[in-house]
């Protein structure tokens, strides 16, 4: 089943890597380089899954996450957070704000593919 994935990250090389992996898994992919454009893209593109970075210019990942969770139109959207902030507290904060899964950078590609599949299966 072909799903729609949105990648929001300000690190171009990470975006390239995640995009490659998601495409290889057979999904349709769009990308955004900061929080603001990411949020706009989420509203227009209505992705099934958003791979979201935390530290970004303009609007950070937590703010994007909160805005999506407050938007009833984006109700079923799954969110996987990627962050270089490795502390447990950060992880908890993301999950408390409504993220579905969390991966610290650097992440094993297998984990990313596995988590994405799980979340997309649940979104059916």
């Amino acid at each position: 089943m072909r799903k729609r994935v949105l990648i929001v990250d300000d690190e171009p090389n990470i975006v390239i890597a995640v995009e490659f992996l998601m495409q290889r898994a057979g999904h349709e992919v769009r990308t955004a380089r900061d929080g603001e454009t990411g949020l706009a893209a989420a509203r227009s593109y209505r992705p099934d899954l958003i791979v979201l970075d935390v530290m970004m210019p303009k609007l950070d990942g937590y703010a994007v996450l909160a805005a999506i969770r407050a938007d009833p139109l984006l109700d079923g959207t799954r969110i996987l957070m990627l962050t270089a902030k490795g502390r447990e507290a950060e992880q908890k904060k993301g999950l408390a704000l409504g993220a579905d899964a969390y991966l610290p950078k650097p992440f094993p590609t297998g984990d990313l593919i596995e988590k994405a599949r799980e979340l997309l299966d649940r979104s059916d």
């Binding site: 300000d10 690190e11 171009p12 090389n13 990470i14 390239i16 890597a17 995640v18 490659f20 992996l21 290889r24 380089r33 900061d34 603001e36 454009t37 530290m55 210019p57 303009k58 990627l82 270089a84 902030k85 490795g86 502390r87 610290p104 950078k105 650097p106 992440f107 094993p108 590609t109 297998g110």
Partner: protein, 916 residues
Amino acid sequence: MISGSLIVGVSFVYLGLLFGIAYWADGRAQQGRSVIAHPTVYALSLAVYCTAWTFYGSVGRAAEDGLGFLPIYLGPTLIALLWSSLLLKMVRISKSERITSIADFIGSRYGKSHVLSGVVTVIAVIGVLPYIALQLKAIAWSFSILNAYPDLRMPDQQSVPLWHDTAFVVALLLAAFTILFGTRHLDASERHEGMVAAIAFDSIVKLVAFMAVGLFVILGFLGIGGGPPLPSLADNPHLASLLKPLFEPGIASLQRWIAISVLAGLAMMVLPRQFQVAVVEISDERHLRRAIWLFPLYLLLINLCVIPIAMAGLITFQDGQVDADTFVLTLPIAFSQPWLALLVFIGGLSAATGMVIVETIALSTMVSNDLILPALTRRWRRRPPMASLSGLLINIRRGAIVVILLLGYLYYRLAGEAYALIGIGLISFVAVAQFAPALIGGLYWRGGTREGALAGLLAGFLVWIYTLLLPSFARSGWLPPAFMESGPDGLDFLAPLALFGLSGWDEITHGLFWSLTANIGAFLLVSSLRAPDAIEIARARVFVDALRQHRPTGALLWRGSAEVVELIELAERILGVSRARAAFARYARARGVALPVNIPADAETVHFAETLLSGAIGSASARVMVASVTEEESLGLDEVLDILNEASQIRAYSHQLEQKSIALEAATNELRAANARLQELDQLKDDFVSSVTHELRTPLASIRAFSEILFDDPRLQLDQRRHFLGILVSETERLSRLVNQVLDLAKLESGHADWRSEAVELQEVIEQAFAATGHLIEERGIAVVRELHPQPAVVWGDRDRLIQVLVNLLSNGVKYAPANQGRLRVELFPVETNWRVCIADNGPGIPADELDLVFEKFHQSAVDGAKPAGTGLGLHICRQIIHNLGGRIWAENLAPAGASVCFELPAHSTDPITPK
């Protein structure tokens, strides 16, 4: 217009007013609403220092030797500076020991000695009686001058019958007043509130009256009112010579100025009346703080008009028929100002009455407690006294007041116009100044003994009689004048006015010098003959440590047996039943027992009884009386020293504890501050580690992801594989650059970086930086413009570090300039004594609020909303380097587009930089 009956009437009204004020103040005091418990009233009461001698005499002195009158007021002003130690000590001691007079104070200091306080009393009475006589004379003279109005007539020595003699009537009136308000209570250590209020009022009246004459004279000089005009001196050589001392004040004789200042300063502390108002009557020691400036201010005001009045007097009475001492009064008469003259008379009256009342109260307390009572107690030892003594004691004091005033009157009648009266003011001062060594020495030196103090006092007093009193008798014609010149039996070196060949000094300076020398010498010499005994050590402790100790140690040093009932009975006999019972009842409550009879008969109680009686009969008599009803075991010196040592050890220990706790508190505060600082540093370090971790994880994440992709997927197309490998390489480079920069930063911040100090030419540095970044510039297709000053731009610094800065700034410029249309402009030019380098790009510029932030760690400005490839440390490191080399670095935006980063370094060149 002015008649005798009017003057008498006004005088009575004025004295009645004083009575009224005193009565009112006493009434208020009984209701507990004291009017004198005010620092201004205290300062005004100190102005009892200014007597009729000041009021009339300063002008006389000024007319004779110009500013020579000033030291009499300069001394007290200077000594006021010491009050916060000296006077405060005296006040504290007197309050805790219930001291009643200067005689009691000195006697108490050297072991509550009857002999010592008796000698002080005798000296005080002999020294001060003529001074009281002087006040009576001033009143009588001013009355007789004013009575002759409008004629101007100097009074003769009167040979009128007693009842017509103004001075006699005045003496009786003042005695009545003093008895009424000075002996209401037996306890002389209690304040005489009514008397203090009255003399504070006196002080205002005399100041107002004196300044009124001053104003009248000054306005006259200015041509306003009816005062004397200022004549031209050029056409009147006689007048000019008269006024000469006023216009050429000069310090004619320095030693005289110093001597009289010292003398007046000492008198201020030891005159019986000054001790009375300053120490006995003070209601709150905080009042001293205001008196320290207000009293000198009062002296300044009352002296302000002395010179103008003296001038006016000399101008008006050029024939010399009018005594300069009367100018204050005769000037208003000469210019037909009857009401002003009357005001002056009242002012002089107030100055005289204030002095006489306070001095008499002080002297009567001394005479009764330190001369008469000791004699009586000796008699009582053989024959028991009557049941109640309080009435007797009060009457002794009243009798003493009348006798002292009559003696004063007698002296006035006998000495009259003689020099012995006129010159007496300063001579009196020298007599009482003899108290100073025993008093001040006793407050600051522990080594003084009873015999030493006695020897000093007697030696000083005898020299005073010889060098000052006898010559004044000789001038009055009572002794052959030759006596002054040649000394007894023609022994010239013993001549009273040139003792031991000391000539050329005036009489007062000479007398003061020799009497104080003899006094201090004898005091020190005799004191050194033996070590202080037990009692003297204990008393020294109470006096010298008065400002340090909180509780007197008097009670510690008594051992023996006593019956409380007997102590109470003794107090009842002396103080009266009701007062004694009330005092013991208060003490019982303080000790925590219900009834006075239950008070434990211990040392503390005996001490309480002794202090209670001290207020009424003086400390020496109190000690004798208490000893008569108790059995005291005499303590040996060793025991006393043990007790005192114990007390002082405890005190020293608690002092140490106090110091320790202060030190601990300070250390705690320091630790707290250091801890806060550490926490701050810790937070900074955490933030830094967290930032570095974040910056490391980001390239690592790319590296890991692409490595796994390449590893897992062998079927990737070649160009994609190459693309991914390229990313791997650049992310690895970024990682190693980051690690290097973090290490570099750590080195810079720790201060362990090795800096080479050399002369560096900035042009070379710029070229080398271009060489290092050439390929980057070419790659991005960026045009470069160099505008470098032709003169070698030499700075002092580290070449490699400077290249590092320039490479960094060039790379930044390249990074932010748009690819292919990018322009980079490098400028080098002098600004004042600095060289400035600017690197400008035509990129997007820096948001205005981030111009300073870009130099912070891990701060990066986004390019078109995306993150630039960099570590976020470069500019921070540049700033560290430039600051280290003594320069500054900043960023600014350019119009229409682009940003410029500039730095300045001090030029290292002896040649001045020439502009381009």
